[in-house]
Symmetry: D2
Subunit: 137 residues, 4 copies
């Protein structure tokens, strides 16, 4: 799992790290960086989506067979507050793990000065991929 995450080079590019890995649950984290802002100085919605999508994908992967890979079929994300904070955590949980399809949910939480605020929620659909060369993990 960690080896697969390490191959997601976009995570290093954005400074996103894996914080917690449990069956059906994954947390990713990113510190606030000017390099990630949109035009109003908040974290770009696409960065929130990138974190939440990867957290959902790895949460799904924790419940899949060891030789399976995971692909994002689709996701939907609602931005609920401006993404202001010192750091941001995407917390994903599996809602339903099927043989082919896994449904996940993730919150992105902004953390700063002792307070936490949910700034986005994602509802995502992941697919289990087997025996397709180049799509392991």
């Amino acid at each position: 799992m960690r080896a697969s995450f390490a191959r997601q080079q976009v995570m290093a590019t954005l400074g996103i790290t894996l914080r917690r890995l449990a069956p059906g649950e994954v947390d990713l984290e990113v510190p606030f960086q000017q390099a990630l802002v949109q035009q109003h100085g908040f974290l770009h919605a696409g960065v929130l989506a990138t974190m939440a999508d990867s957290a959902c994908g790895y949460a799904a992967l924790t419940l899949m067979p060891a030789d399976a890979g995971v692909l994002s079929i689709e996701f939907k994300i609602n931005m609920m507050a401006p993404a202001k904070g010192e750091r941001f955590t995407a917390r994903a949980v599996v809602l339903r793990a099927g043989r082919n399809i896994t449904v996940c949910e993730a919150d992105v939480v902004a953390i700063g000065s002792g307070s936490e605020k949910v700034v986005a929620r994602m509802l995502a659909t992941m697919m289990t991929v087997r025996g397709r060369t180049g799509v392991e993990g």
Copy 2:
């Protein structure tokens, strides 16, 4: 519009550039880069989402009053094929421009070796923001 796009520092971080700007239509582009891949070597779904979301936001902004800003309320994106290619274009169009709410759609197209393939489609909801300090453009 171009000044606002330039303030989206995440665009420079990811190498995404503004290619076309017309009333209700915006194209953004990114070359393939190892720095943006997921674990299977394709462009990460979050990068596709970041491009498509920004393209939708600026397409919406082209039809808003000059002093208004735009915020993403939510978006949904379906990944339709592995994001393999030499470069990728997000093409957004406004489907419906209302006073407060604008609905946009975007395709992300993978381009390479003389062929094009749609790899993702987004359906997004944008909000017009007026008179809120820090949210111009």
Copy 3:
């Protein structure tokens, strides 16, 4: 609120009733009926969506000013299991109530033989409408 619900004639057509109304929370219920099935004999996804959307809309309305109306901007629903059961409850909660935009979530739960199962989850965006004739409640 109850008067507004009573004007939703599609609720009577489908046999959907209001079960619970609390600030930011609404439950709707429907008994299983052959009149509501899809081709495999399960409740049609559109019926699940109708219940969940109305539950979200009224949950949002409970937190809006008394003279405001509510409109669905968009919703997304994942079907997580076949909708088999004796009755079905849509349970909506407000995740974030803003001045113009309210984000809600709803589960549709199938109930039968002493067991409960979540068969669908919705993530929805509602809009507060003020001073627009014909759009009260």
Copy 4:
């Protein structure tokens, strides 16, 4: 296909009929009825969703093997204008037909007095189901 549609009893309950069936394309239609309105007298968003979801499902099914069934994994719908009109058509097209996953899009168009208006757009994910008893067609 038509036999499968006839088993969707909710279609008869709502007065929705199959208007057009072509490879990868399906149109469904419903006349305006007081029995289908929400609290403001417009067609309920859930009815639009029911039509659009079924149109997407059957559009997907036209491109699947003859012995396969179709299930809705998820859909997202944006309401773009009040659903006022004499009749409403849901027009679905397949965007991408895969072995397991088919992505579809549908517009719901309000028709009246010689004019047409798109009132909703759906982006949906369908699954091919094989060899599962009770899920044919």
